[in-house]
Amino acid sequence: MTKARYPSFMTPHVINDLLARVALGDRVAFQKLYAATSAKLFGVALRVLKNRSDAEDCLQEVYVKVWHNAAKYQVSGYSPITWLVTIARNQAIDRIRSQKAGNVDLSEADDVADAGATPEQAVMQGADSDRLRQCLERLSPGRAEAVKACYMEGYSYQELAERLEQPINTVRTWLRRSLISLRECLSS
């Protein structure tokens, strides 16, 4: 399965150049970067936080970090899209970890994945998703789903254990085995 990941008007090169301009303090580039990437990063934050107000605050923190750290991006070795998505996920996870666990409001969670993206926001597709998908498929189905749920929803070991109704050490053991299998498959 192949998706058109990068529309020609917004390639990783373009995001790369925008980040390089942002590193020079170019506010127009910052606005363009926001226009191209904010819907994806807001989607990522919403998915973890499941609350619009929290996700909006999180998005603010994310772009403040992007502005201040754009120069560090260049020497980080990250691809531009991974760098942005990772900042958003880590910010959202740090935020939810600092809140009290178990306060998910499902009525708000329901409206998380509705609004569509405009063409210029449809840019943020990760690379190599086929390779990861193939390696996940080699895990037993329940375990692949657990890895995906942890990534998408930002579950901690504690939350995953509660959802699966298994002891945390058991969950940790088999998730670690799954991660070892994944690494072997991804490196082969």
């Binding site: 990941r5 790369n16 150049d17 390089a20 301009r21 020079l24 303090g25 170019d26 127009v28 606005q31 926001y34 904010s38 819907a39 807001f42 989607g43 998915r47 909006e56 603010q60 772009y63 403040v64 502005w67 120069a71 260049q74 980080s76 070795g77 990250y78 691809s79 991974t82 990772t86 996920r89 880590n90 970890r97 998380v112 994945a113 509705d114 609004a115 569509g116 993206a117 405009t118 926001q121 449809a122 943020m124 990760g126 998703s129 086929d130 390779r131 990861l132 995906k148 942890c150 990534y151 998408m152 930002g154 579950y155 901690s156 070991y157 504690q158 998730l175 670690r176 991660l179 994944l182």
Partner: protein, 228 residues
């Protein structure tokens, strides 16, 4: 498990997000201090990011961008004070207050939150046949040209030299690009008027730059300065 394997596993747990509490915080501090560990986390991040393809984008409300810009670019107290004392500001305010009812209603929709700086030119300097690529940001107000190289470097024993080409004038050297990514050039007053509609070019030169005052090697990248 060896130490390396153990770190690779912890990197996976951190990147996946399952690590929590003090362990996560402690690991984040280690990442900042240990480049090899940061590289392991990066490897996982690059692999895991494919899962984000399945996360639907959601357009954030417009006020979020305004808040970000307010936080980053709102005037400092000193600038506010000079704005406060500015005749133009008060004239502008008098005009604005006439349209106050309209402005008030649409205030929340206005972007950006803070006016953009004026007089900035940017260029994306790249070439078809070379890997050298840089972005340039020129502030016409103070003559400061800032450069950020995103790709490429000089060949061993050679230098990359930056030139300004204004209209039909001969190229004028702006200096040799240093090894680091970012650099800045304080443009001489005599050249400052020539940046608008000018072209920046990078040539391959002997170590230390051209000795003739003109490009001697191949021009490897060019880019037009554009008013933003």
């Amino acid at each position: 498990m060896t130490l390396h394997d153990d770190d690779m596993m912890l990197a996976a747990e951190y990147a996946l997000g399952v690590m929590q509490g003090a362990e996560r915080e402690a690991f984040a501090r280690r990442i900042a201090a240990e480049p090899s560990l940061a590289a392991m986390v990066r490897e996982w991040d690059e692999d895991f990011v494919a899962m984000s393809d399945d996360i639907a984008p959601v357009v954030p409300p417009r006020h979020v961008q305004k808040k970000i810009e307010d936080r980053l670019f709102a005037t400092s107290p000193a600038q506010e004070s000079s704005l406060w004392n500015s005749l133009n500001f008060w004239r502008g305010l008098a005009i604005a207050s006439v349209a106050g009812v309209v402005a008030l209603g649409s205030w929340g929709l206005m972007r950006p939150g803070v006016p953009l700086p004026q007089n900035v030119l940017v260029a994306q300097v790249a070439g078809d046949a070379s890997a050298v690529r840089l972005v340039a940001h020129y502030d016409q107000a103070n003559g400061l040209l800032r450069l950020n190289r995103t790709e490429g470097a000089a060949v061993a024993g050679r230098s990359l030299e930056l030139w300004l080409i204004a209209g039909t004038d001969a190229p004028v050297s702006l200096g040799v690009l240093p090894d680091g990514n970012t650099s800045s050039v304080s443009v001489p007053a005599s050249l400052r008027g020539k940046f608008k509609d000018g072209v920046l070019a990078i040539s391959d030169e002997p170590l230390g730059g051209s000795t003739t005052g003109a490009p001697t090697g191949a021009v490897v990248a060019t880019g037009k300065l554009i008013d933003i």
